[in-house]
């Protein structure tokens, strides 16, 4: 079946790309302000990987859409209501504990997702996923090590890490929501239905939290909306900063 006959595929690629662009942007806010120089380097590294993956995914989304939008048009000239990232990606960076716990939750998800997408029937997406898997393995290792260090470090670091887990937990459910888009790409062999990733994600995350002496929060209401363009108030502010130069000079090349 030609790609153009898969209307859900563009939406799906936007979800993949936006998750990584928005989270990469949030991570890049640390550049020059990290707790130790080694972490300035590591967080920039992860940010760079994520923005790089986003660039490839949005480029593919633009090509698939065939409406003349390239990756920059998609990144810089869509409003927040047109963004399709999960809410967890857009929350402000918080303290180092919040950033690390969020990164750990997302990286475990991303690794599972990208491992599955290596088998996408779309060769380009499969290629992007193969590259992303290598990167996500490092992201998981790096963030998991820090989750354990902070959780099992001092009383203060434990409290901060636990607060981050408690605050972020209600945003994790959205990562595994299924809907018509997820089902359509899954049945076409293009993508993976995110709901199938929930079980391995919980197993891996809870194992690390246990090692970190952190407690898994009780089941509660899970926030949602990002996949349909209904975001937190934070995304608009983030995008207004990110897009200001590009939008101030429409038509300009950089």
């Amino acid at each position: 079946m030609p790609i153009s006959a898969q209307p859900g595929f563009v939406s799906y690629l936007l979800r993949l790309g936006d998750d990584r662009l928005v989270l990469g942007h949030r991570l890049s806010e640390w550049c020059g302000h990290g707790p130790i120089l080694e972490e300035d380097i590591a967080l920039a590294n992860v940010a760079l990987d994520l923005v790089g993956e986003a660039t490839l995914l949005l480029k593919l989304a633009g090509e698939t859409e065939s409406a003349g939008r390239n990756e920059d048009a998609l990144a810089y000239f869509r409003d927040s209501t047109e963004y399709r990232n999960a809410l967890i990606a857009e929350l402000p960076k918080g303290d180092f504990g919040f950033t690390i716990v969020r990164q750990f939750f997302f990286s475990v998800f991303s690794l599972l997702q990208m491992q599955a997408l290596q088998r996408s029937s779309n060769a380009e997406l499969a290629g992007i996923a193969a590259k992303a898997v290598k990167e996500a393995k490092y992201h998981v290792r790096h963030s998991a090590q820090w989750v354990v260090t902070l959780g099992d470090g001092t009383e203060e670091s434990h409290a901060r890490a636990q607060a981050a887990v408690d605050e972020l937990w209600r945003y994790t459910g959205e990562l595994f929501l299924t809907d018509a888009v997820e089902q359509e790409v899954a049945s076409a062999g293009l993508g993976v239905d995110a709901s199938t990733l929930a079980e391995p994600w919980h197993a891996q995350v809870e194992e690390i939290l246990r090692r970190a002496t952190l407690t898994v929060p009780p089941v509660s209401y899970m926030q949602r909306g990002g996949r349909d363009g209904r975001h937190t108030e934070h995304l608009g502010h983030m995008l207004s900063e990110m897009q200001i130069v590009a939008r101030s000079h429409p038509g300009a090349t950089w």
Binding site: C31, G32, G153, S157, A252
Partner: protein, 328 residues
């Protein structure tokens, strides 16, 4: 990034054995490389510690004005390039701190000197980055000036510093090309982009010339550093080299360097340039530049906010150590 700025090291209290100093200077005269375990005069050690740590601090503080535009870079390619550049600077800082540690002062102490306002860093970073064009201009001028200086330092007598400079220079060359390419794109862009580029050139040109430090006659450190093979050339010679290189680059992309006195001198084969505002130079060195307070405050804030993380990492490492010992 580099610093040729003055903050003289006091002579050591106990003078070194003159015979050993003579032998040391003979080694340098023969072009030998001084390595960490070799004997060296205390003052050589101090001067190098000062220079190298200032250099490392400059890399770290330099992350701030450029990091200021990461979140507003105008397209994804530029955003990635800028993140990578600032990350490179963190890497340079780390590398040079490690090099400085070979002289016997650890990183923690050096960082504390910066936070306490006792150590200097390149004054260029006390100027604000006001538009996207500043990112291009910093790459072109500031990294360009750094390359001129570091190409010379790559032959410095102290082995670890020289080797660090060789490696760092390669990356700085890449940054400079990237910066120049940003400027060329802006200069060929819309009238607003062109104006933005020219404005950045107007603001960064003179501070970039100041990066090479005072005239040699007024530089308290230059003579000794040249004698000990740490610096192979004086501030004025390096500054002239930078001007000569940059004039043609500006002409090629139709941007004007803000100096009416700039003129080619057939006799010396140099570009003569107008007087530098040394009052401004000293004002910024002494703390009254536009962003001195902000830069230091940002470093102090990051350090204070990261304290609990560093303590946690140390506590966790100690726990691991204990359980490894108990298991053994």
């Amino acid at each position: 990034m580099m610093v040729n700025e003055p903050s003289a090291v006091q002579p050591s209290a106990t003078p070194d054995d003159p015979a050993r100093v003579a032998e040391f200077e003979a080694r340098i005269a023969r072009g030998e490389s001084i390595e960490p375990k070799d004997w060296m005069p205390e003052r050589y050690r101090k001067q190098l510690t000062r220079m190298m740590s200032q250099h490392a601090h400059s890399e770290i503080v330099g992350m701030l004005p450029e990091g200021n535009w990461i979140t507003r870079a105008p397209n994804l390619r530029r955003k990635m390039a800028l993140i990578a550049k600032v990350q490179d600077e963190a890497g340079h800082g780390l590398y040079i701190y490690c090099g400085t540690e070979t002289l016997g002062t650890d990183r923690q102490e050096l960082v504390q000197q910066l936070l306490d306002g006792k150590a200097k860093y390149s004054s260029i970073f006390n100027y604000p980055t006001l538009t996207w064009a500043d990112i291009g201009c910093i790459g072109w001028f500031v990294d360009g000036a750094a390359i001129v200086n570091q190409t010379m330092l790559a032959k410095a007598s102290y082995g670890p510093y020289a080797r660090a400079m060789v490696r760092i220079c390669k990356e700085e060359n890449f940054h400079k090309r990237q910066g120049y390419e940003i400027m060329a794109t802006l200069a060929n862009g819309t009238p607003e982009q062109r104006a933005m580029a020219q404005d950045a050139v107007n603001r960064w040109w003179w501070p970039s010339l100041m990066m090479f430090g005072p005239h040699d006659a007024e530089s308290s450190n230059s003579e000794e550093l040249v004698r000990w093979g740490v610096k192979k050339k004086g501030n004025d010679e390096l500054r002239q080299r930078f001007v000569n290189l940059t004039v043609a680059q500006a002409t090629a992309i139709n941007l004007t360097l803000p100096d009416p006195a700039l003129q080619y001198n057939e006799q010396t084969e140099n570009w003569d340039f107008g007087p530098i505002d040394w009052d401004e130079f000293w004002r910024v060195v002494k703390g009254d530049g536009p962003c001195n307070r902000e830069r230091l405050a940002a470093r102090r804030d990051a350090h204070a906010a990261g304290e609990w993380v560093r303590v946690a990492a140390a506590a966790y490492a100690a726990k691991q150590q204990r359980s490894a010992t108990e298991a053994a």
